[in-house]
């Protein structure tokens, strides 16, 4: 039994160190570890192995627990047949473009609200926060019509990446996180730089941003994953072009209607790989971001 746990929890270490406690603990621990592995990794196991089955085996009843004849070629066929490389490329392009736009515009705005404090800055900030009360899906119709004919400039953004990038800047949550973090940076630091003759952009670039790395990481992860996981909006604004401009989620759903079952599962598995790698690499930041950002479902 490891004794490194710092605070006591529901069950005390003393109870666990007793013979009966230890036995009970190991029964529960084994059950939990086995159960979680089955529930959360089990489906993924089938995702990767069902993709290896032949078309016939994949629609056989009862289903086989492992591929009786392994067809690794399915993955190559799925890669070629569903144009998944292009879908993946599109999605990454939209996701990192949205990230760049958010980092530039939202950081600048949060910096202005927090540190430059122009007149009415707080009122504008309040209006930005108010958008958090209205979830994006509810506004999908007027938003779609607006993107199809942007007021004032009369541009049609449908089919252009800007239809995803620009609306992603209007993210009250990012502004809130950034502004709250910038508030915690002492003004004195900036006054010192000001006396040394640094301008506003220079202060932002060489004082504020280097101190804000943790929150920039959180905002970046939110920005990338929200585009990565989005479905309805990219379906509406990037659908129906050739060559396709669709995202992974949208393209995959469409390919599912026309492809055999084993191809669909193989393509789903391929689509899941970048997300799994991204998660395993950044898991610390991703899971910390959940609580750093206060709460967001």
């Amino acid at each position: 039994m490891t004794t490194e746990n710092i605070t006591r929890t529901l069950v005390s270490s003393a109870t666990l160190n007793r013979r009966r406690g230890r036995i009970l603990y190991w029964i529960v621990a084994t059950l939990v570890i086995a159960g979680f592995t089955a529930i959360f990794l089990g489906p993924l196991y089938f995702m990767f192995t069902d993709g290896l089955k032949s078309t016939k085996e994949s629609v056989q009843s009862p289903p086989t627990l492992y591929p009786h004849a392994v067809h690794p070629g399915n993955y190559i066929d799925a890669w070629n047949g569903t144009g998944i490389a292009r879908l993946l490329g599109n999605t990454l392009y939209y996701a990192f473009g949205a990230l760049a736009f958010q980092l530039v515009f939202d950081v600048a705005a949060a910096y202005a609200i927090s540190k430059l404090r122009p007149r009415f800055g707080d009122a504008i900030f309040g209006l930005m926060l108010a958008t958090l009360m209205i979830p994006a899906l509810v506004l999908v119709v007027p938003q779609y019509l607006t993107v199809a004919d942007v007021p004032v400039v009369h541009l049609n953004l449908i089919g252009s990446p800007a239809a995803i990038w620009l609306p992603s800047v209007a993210n009250g949550f990012s502004i809130f996180l950034l502004k709250r973090f910038f508030d915690s940076i002492p003004d004195d630091l900036m006054h010192a730089a000001e006396i040394d003759g640094a301008g506003r952009i220079k202060i932002l670039w060489s004082i504020v941003l280097p101190m804000s790395r943790p929150i920039l990481a959180v905002v970046s992860i939110f920005a990338v994953t929200s585009v990565w996981k989005d479905f309805l909006w990219p379906k509406l604004v990037e659908g129906g072009y050739s060559p396709t401009r669709e995202t992974l989620n949208v393209g995959l759903t469409q390919a599912a209607n026309t492809s055999p079952q084993n191809m669909v599962i193989a393509a789903s598995a391929i689509a899941a790989v970048p997300a799994i790698i991204f998660f395993l690499v950044f898991q610390r930041n991703i899971m910390a971001g959940l609580t750093v950002g206060g709460l967001k479902g």
Binding site: R8, L10, V11, S12, Y25, V32, I33, F36, F40, P43, F46, P62, P63, F105, D106, A112, K115, L116, R117, G121, L127, M128, T131, I134, L137, V138, L139, V140, V141, P142, L145, V150, P151, L166, P167, V169, A170, D187, H191, E194, G199, R200, W228, L232, L252, N257, Q261, I265, S268, A272, I276, F279, L280, Q283, M287, L290, T291, L295, K296, G297
Partner: protein, 327 residues
């Protein structure tokens, strides 16, 4: 002297300019103006995006819900006119309207029952384990990161009543088999199960963080007073996490009432057998972007306004509950 006023008119320690002189008020005005303009310059990009893609659509949804489009009998051009509450009365008379709200509420309740309680219990158990904690946290959160289409296509396959894994599992366990998403009785429950699998990681980890903040002495004291495990959960764990539980409850209601992609993929378009899985957002989508050409943005807007009002209430409750959390 403008460069001396880079930072806002907050508490500043250094006196700026030699005060006084006949031109001081005028110069201060120019300086303030330049300062404000610089601030607005930094905000311009974000404000423009908010205005175009958030504030304006919000107002426009209200306006459109009271408008209608029809062809002018003379010029044959589409014309927009005010129609009062006609869009609202039209959607009230649509039988799908009631089904969509019923399904959405049913999904929310089921998702809360499962998606609110299960993560709490899971978090309590995880918090007690001294082993494999990192591994279990990664496991719970992994599905959250998957592309939703991947996860849902996989579940659609599992749910197949003939060749699916779940049917086989029920069979092996000698339980009554089910038609899952293909029968109106079990379709919604199947949607909830898939959705919970995909989404419970976030909630679990937030609860886990809250549990870790409970001071150990409280448990110690409760145990000395003779409280058993359940007693400690009831008298320490739940009161100590009450705030975060109620915040998550509001967030989950807002989140689950926006149900869209799960029925859309699992039941090929979202309606499901006998409209048993159509959600409000699915119906907005159908009204607005129906492929059969009967698309009607105004009815969709009216429905959007209704959903906006309902969700607005829960969002406001969330803000009210969390108002002094940061203090």
């Amino acid at each position: 002297m403008a460069e001396q006023v880079l930072l806002g008119p907050g508490k500043r320690s250094i006196p700026r300019s030699p005060a006084g002189g006949p031109q001081a008020p005028r110069r201060r005005f120019v300086v303030n103006l330049r300062h404000n303009l610089a601030g607005y310059g930094f905000m311009a990009g974000a404000v423009a995006c908010f205005a175009l893609f958030s504030w304006y659509p919000m107002i426009r949804e209200f306006i459109m819900s009271f408008q209608g489009t029809h062809r002018d009998p003379v010029t044959r051009l589409p014309k927009t006119t005010w129609v009062g509450w006609r869009n609202y009365t039209r959607i009230f008379h649509d039988p799908t309207f009631a089904a969509a709200w019923k399904n959405t509420v049913e999904f929310s309740l089921l998702a809360l029952l499962i998606g609110f309680a299960v993560p709490f219990v899971v978090a309590i158990v995880l918090n007690e384990l001294r082993h494999a904690r990192g591994y279990l946290r990664v496991l719970v959160y992994l599905p959250v990161m998957l592309p939703p289409a991947s996860a849902l296509l996989l579940f659609q396959y599992f749910y197949d009543p003939n060749v699916g894994l779940f049917d086989h599992l029920l069979h092996v366990l000698h339980l009554p088999t089910s038609q899952f998403v293909q029968s109106s009785g079990s379709a919604m429950v199947s949607v909830v199960i898939a959705s919970t699998w995909m989404n419970m990681g976030g909630t679990t980890l937030i609860y886990l963080a809250a549990l870790q903040n409970i001071p150990g002495e409280l448990y110690e004291a409760a145990e000395l007073d003779g409280a058993g495990i359940l007693g400690r959960i009831r008298h320490v764990t739940i009161p100590q996490t009450r705030l975060i539980l109620s915040m998550m409850l509001m967030l989950q209601i807002v989140g689950t009432m926006q149900l869209f992609i799960e029925p859309f993929i699992l039941t090929n378009g979202g309606a499901g057998p006998d409209n048993s899985t159509i959600s409000v957002v699915n119906l907005i989508y159908q009204y607005a972007f129906n492929l059969s050409g009967s698309s009607n943005y105004n009815s969709a807007s009216a429905l959007g306004v209704l959903l906006m009002l309902v969700l607005g209430v829960f969002s406001a409750l969330y803000l009210w509950i969390s108002r002094d959390r940061d203090k």
